[in-house]
Each structure stands twice: as C-alpha cells, then as structure tokens.
Amino acid sequence: MAAITEPQLGPNLEEPAGWRRTKNRMATVLMVVSFILVIIPLVFVLYTVVAKGIKIISWSFLTSGPIPPNVAPADVGGIGPAVLGTIEIVALATAMAVPLGVLGAIYLNEYGGKGVLARLIGFFSDVMTGVPSIVMGLFIFSIWVLHFQFSGFAGALALGCLMLPVVIRSTDEMLKLVPNPLREGSYALGASKARVTVTVVLPAAIGGIVSGALLAIARAAGETAPLLFTILTVTTANPNPFSGPNTSLPSQIFANATSPYVGAQDRAWGTALTLIVIAFVLMITARIITARFSRFSR
C-alpha cells in the first residue's frame, strides 16, 4: 500500500511510525537506563575500595603478622594471619562442601529420578539456600563450638553448610543441561549407570560444575556473619585450623572498620581490596576452566 503512494521504486521497507515503534523505543530506553543504574553502584563500590585500599597494599601488608592493634597507624604490620586464616577455612569448607554437593547433585539428577527421597533432598537444599548466613553461624556455634572450642574448622563447617546448597543447585542445573541422547549413546554401548555418569555426563558438565563451585567458594570467602561465632577473630596467625581461635579477611574487615582509629580503617580498606581481588581471581579461573573443559563441545 505504502509503495503505491510513495514515488520511490520498490516496497517501503521502513518501520512505520505508530504505537509499535513507540513501544520498541521505550523498551530500548528502559534497558539502557537500567544498565546505567546497575553499573553505577558497581563502579562506585569498586572505585572506592580500590582508591582507599590500593595505597596500603604491599607484600608485607599481605604477609606480616600479627595484626597490629587498632591504634597503630596503617603502615605498621599487616594482615598475614587473616590471609592465612581465610585460606585455611575456605579450603577446608571447599573440601567438605564441593565433593558432597557434586555427589548430592549426581544423586538428584542421575539416580534419584522422581523418587520421594530425591525430591525431599532437592526441596531441603533449596530451603537451605535461603537460610541467613548468621543463622548457619549460630547453628555451628551451638552444635560444635559450645562442645569443643572456637577453631578454623568450626568456621569451615559454617561456610561449608552455606556452600553446600549452592554447589548442589549449580551442579544440578549443569547436569540437567547434559542432553539425554548422550546418556543413551553410552548405555547403548553397554555402559553401566556409574560409567555413563563418570565417563559421559560428568565430563560434559565439568566446566559448569567447576565454575559453579568456584563461585560458591568466592561467595563463602566473603562471608562474615557465620565466622563471628565460630573462629573468634584473633590477631595472631594460627596455622592449625583444628585447634584454637583463628581469623579471616572478612571478620578482620568487620573488626577494623568498626573501630574509630584511622590506621585500623585504612587496614580495613586494604583487606576489602584483597578480598575483592581474591574473588576476581576465582571468577577468572572459573572462566578459564569452563573454556578449557568445553573445547570438545564446540
């Protein structure tokens, strides 16, 4: 119709003006605005932490200890004990939660089927995702710390409880993405269920499983609340996570940032930057591992 009224040759291929075009433009504007709104707090947080933290970070800040008292100026001592404590606690929590979570997800997806047990586990794992982290800390405090003592291990238990449902859920989603024909192809060659799972399903999903686990680790490394009641946050290094109070980066931030001394607050910024860098490194590692493992799937 438009072609008849217009002098040019051929049909009119321009988008006609009207409500449809208006809607389209409104949606585009909305998306751009939302993007900017999302990016503002992100950039602001990163900028503040980097700007305030970068000047204090040095090798000796990351490694030396014990952590000086709050009154000490920023250029004295370092947060070595907190770095060590975080590594100990997060490594232990990972060693407990990741294998258990992956195995749990394998059960849910490959073995449990639509059975009552599998659905029950899936349900409770989802419920656990929603439990506030401080409640997890109190839980470990009452069942472990009261009977034994404050220790890095108690902190690891609390963080492990937090990581477990996240690992289960992310692994479960990855296993669901493995196409069924792959399983059938393996079964048709005379593979048992365990073989199918180990040689076909897990390799096909491993990239996603690893990156899901690393995200859970990064998340746990930044948790403060569950550590408050479990490791006691001391200032000296404790290389033995199974005995005696310990310390960690996030609880050190909490202890330092709430103090009125300038030195302590600078230390808190430096510690925060350290934590962000650790999370960043884990994310990058997750990306690299995902790409490495999926080289046969393209």
Partner: protein, 300 residues
Amino acid sequence: METPEQNVAADSQLTETAKPPLPKTTTEPQVQPEQYAAARESVFDVENVSIYYSAFRAVTDVSLTVHENEITAFIGPSGCGKTTVLRTLNRMNDLVAGARVEGDVRYRGASLYGKDVSPIAVRRRIGMVFQKPNPFPKSIYDNVAYGPRINGEHNKGKLNEIVERSLHQAALWDEVKDRLGKSGLSLSGGQAQRLCIARTLAVEPDVVLMDEPCSALDPIATGAIEDLMKEIKSRYTIVIVTHNMQQATRVSDRTAFFSVLRNEKSDTRTGVLVEYGPTEKIFHDPSDPRTEAYVTGQMG
C-alpha cells in the same frame, strides 16, 4: 516356551561377565561357536509382545523373527510403535520410567527379559544407532575408543587398531584420519552419524539396531550410510526403523509394517504389527489391505 534348564543356560549367557563368551545354543551344547552361525538362523524371536508405558499400551501383539545377517526394516506411520519395538530389542526401554514389556522376546534362544539378564550385557551385544547423531563431546578417536575402553580394553596398540578398523567399516576413515584428535562435534551431520556407527561397531556387537539413522541427513549422506549397511551386513544383523519406504526397499531383506489402532473410547493409540515378510512381498504383493494402502501411498 522353554524348559527351565534351557532358561538357566540361556540366561547365564546374558548375565554380566567381564568378557562374555559367544552365546551357545541351548539345544545342541556340542556345537562349536564357529559352526553356530550356520546352525541357527534366527537372532530375535519376538512372540506376542505388548509394551506399556505405565498403564498406556503403546504396542500390542507383535510377533516376528529377525534373521541373522539380514537387514530387517520396520516401517509404518508415526506413533505406530516401530521405535518402541526396536528399543525393546536391546532393553533401551528400561531407561524409560514405567515402561514394561509383556510377552516373550528371545535373543538367540535366551529370554531377553529373564530374571537374571543384565541389560548391560545385552547392550554390549546389541548396539544401537540413534535418529539424531549423538557423538560424545570428546575427540573423534575417544568417541570410537569409548566402547572398547568401557569393556576393559586399554592397550594402546589394540585401541588404535580398533579405531582404524571401525572407522574404515563406517566409511569415515579417509575423511577423519588426519584429525582424530578433533572434537566429534566438529563433524557434519552425515559424518557424525557415521562416527556413531563406527562407535557402535567398535564393540563388535552381534546386532546393530538403527532408529531412523538417516532422517537428519541429506540424500548423499543417506546413500553413504545405506551402502555401508549393505557392506557390513555379512558380519552383523541389522534392524532398521525408517520413515522412508524407498529406503526400506533399497536396503532391507525383510520388512515389518506397523500400523496404529485407535481406541475410540479412551482416545488412545496403540501400535500393532500388521504384516511381516520378505521386503519384495510386502511392497509388491502384500496380503493385508492396510499394508497395500500404505506402501502404494494411499495412506500415511
């Protein structure tokens, strides 16, 4: 029906062992394995089989005999249960929750659904190629070596030999010999399907079941796979489900025509075997009017 001793002897062949021996005949225990092929012809004896998914009866009253070193084609309209019957032959239906088989399915005399029969041992002898090519996300080499490896073959030299032989049999060797380390997913549709065939042949099965292996392929790739089927049938028994009647006439020795019975009351559809016989007869002199209507294109 079999006598109890026969059952025990036959079933024991399909229970899981590391390297299952060739199935021996149950009636003539003295017969040596190499004479065996000549002594017995039928590979599958299907008698009065009905297949249910929970309460729903998907296929009913199927009786047919699949013969050794022949290509048997299952044809029929959509929903007539061809694939369901095919998947009963190597117990792939076990993977579907609620699937149940009634009647007698015997593989070289042994009941496939006997109490101690391991589906794993069954599938090691009775391989399957699927409708859509499903190479594993592994290298081409690892795809073919997968079956032998899970069956305990780890000798590098032997694996190389098996991979080369299987790829040759599947007419794929020349195209992939220089890139065995590349992903199996990098192949085109026809190549991927031949890779899946090579993967199936690598475990040296007795029977190869093919579920519409060419439906996702162009005519040239289809021709390549049909030639390959004719090539390998001297060593294997092949059962193929196909939607393509020309394909059935081109490759098969025997054809089974399935149709759909509609239950007006419950509005469900159940597949039935209408006619089974030599392909020539099914297509040129069918005894059932439904077969005639289907093969002459008046229906379906």
